[in-house]
Amino acid sequence: MRRLLRNRSGMLGLGIVIIFVVMTLLAPVLRPYNAATDRNLALRLKPPSTEHLMGTDELGRDVLTRVWHGGRVSLSVAVLVVAGSAVLGTLLGVLAGLTGGWLDMVLSWFVDILLAFPGILLAITIVATLGATLSNALIAISIMGIPGYFRVMRSSVLGLRDLEFVQAATALGSSRFRVAFRHILPNGLSPLIVQVTVDLGRTVLTIAALGFLGLGAQPPTPEWGLMIKSGYSQFLNAPWLSIAPGFAIYLSVLGFNLLGDAIRDVLDPQLRG
């Protein structure tokens, strides 16, 4: 922990993440906003001013407020997605690593299939057919994240399975279930934590990409990718519409990535460059 506190870029990342979390939690208090009704056509497409720091959009809505509330959408979906894929991926990974045999083969095969779809392609396939809603996007991105956790947990279980303390626990009569969750999982935790932090940043990007493709949140939800999409059509006369949410995405992802790198350096000294 002390090493983490001494890592300057890691602290910068942590700072950014904390600011984003606090801001999004306080958004309804500091900047109350209703996505459906909060509009003022008299103030359409006004450039940034002291009154509207990031200008207004085509419906006269304050861009800063929407970006601010967009953080609520992105961060909450990102947390749900990462929780979903971490839980599923970890369970399946531990299961595959512990049991081995045909179950391991089938699960690994399944994960290889998921990995055959580069980038956001799998999510696009799923959402394009299930229907473009934020909750379908959430399911799709969660499935997309399973392989990362599966592989990390499977390999750390394989590494730990034959160590003496695990054999001792088994010899003392602990059930397989108990061995897995009391002895193996806690010891395989550090790669998992690194994976979660990096994954949070990546998920924010994926949500935005799907939103930009029209496959995520739908209007009038203030979602960053969707805001860039609708701002893009008016880029020539109102560039602030896309610049502001894009910068918010960049900053939040940067925060998660810096933090993730720092945690990796601390938890896994072998990888330190």
């Binding site: 290889d112 940043g201 990007l205 496959l215 894009g246 960049y250 992802v253």
Partner: protein, 350 residues
Amino acid sequence: MNTYILRRVLGTIPVLLGVTFLVFAVNRIIPSNPAVAILGDKGTVEAQEQLAEELGLNKPVFLDLQGYRATGELKALFDSQYVAYMRDLLTGDLGRSFMTRAPVVDSLRVRFPATMELAFFAIIIGAGLGVLLGVVAALNRSTWVDTTMLFIAVSGVSFPVFWTAIILIYVFSVNLGWFPPAGRLAVTSTIEPITGMHVLDALLRGQFNLALSALHHLVLPAFALGTNAMALIMRMTRSSMLEVLQRDYMRTAKSKGLMPRVVVLKHALRNALLPIVTVAGLSFGALLSGAILIEAIFNWPGIGSWVYNAITQRDYPIIQGGILFVAGVFVVLNLLVDLSYVLIDPRIRY
């Protein structure tokens, strides 16, 4: 070694099978009936039923158990939608677009070279800059140069590519006017296709002005697409170089009095190359999915913008055909990256 290659090649078959199965399964859970989707609101119930019969939608999805029980013939068992789909797939038939009725395979053939050209230049830019900056960072370890490079690398994976693309257009085409904002060539000119890749075709035909024009159009989209790969390759180059620089043979090379350039390029970089190539190869596959966003923004007539338009029009055969194709290319690319290890590092023998 031959057994390794054979095993690795055979190993992709179950994965590819699984990919087709997954895409097919997702295809079957479409809420709407494809026959209704094709005919639109105007189609009569009779026309819908006829089309459903033509498309084989009335057959069982996976196995015709009833038909098998009734006739007792194995042939009847496999008279199903999935078998028909696989048979079409193996004969190169991916169905027809709902909107234009054009065969999906034909459009793929026209659009794939455009995407390959874009991805190729993106990886050239990404790998070129990535290796260069990574080496610079490693040689200046723990100085402000290194810190700056690391910051560039983290930023490169933190920008949403579609946003980078929009900003690049705004700065370099709208404001500075240096590069065209869209398309592959100036509107007035055309190239008779040979390979479908404009730069190569123009060079093959000796039309250097056209080749330059095509390159000019490539700069912004290739750079936007390549930033992510650049960041990943840069980090990998840096850490791989740092590891190699500590080795004893580096000290030997330096104390032999070799020129620093030779030491860095021949002794260090050559040995640091393996992980770099892995990352570059994997990034190349990821570029194919990033192309969906980039091509849509730059109006680049490749697979990406085609799938993007299909998404907005709910043209399922194109979405599925395009995605199936890209996934197939990705699997093959990964295979090639694996096999290329042997060529790069003669120490590896399987």
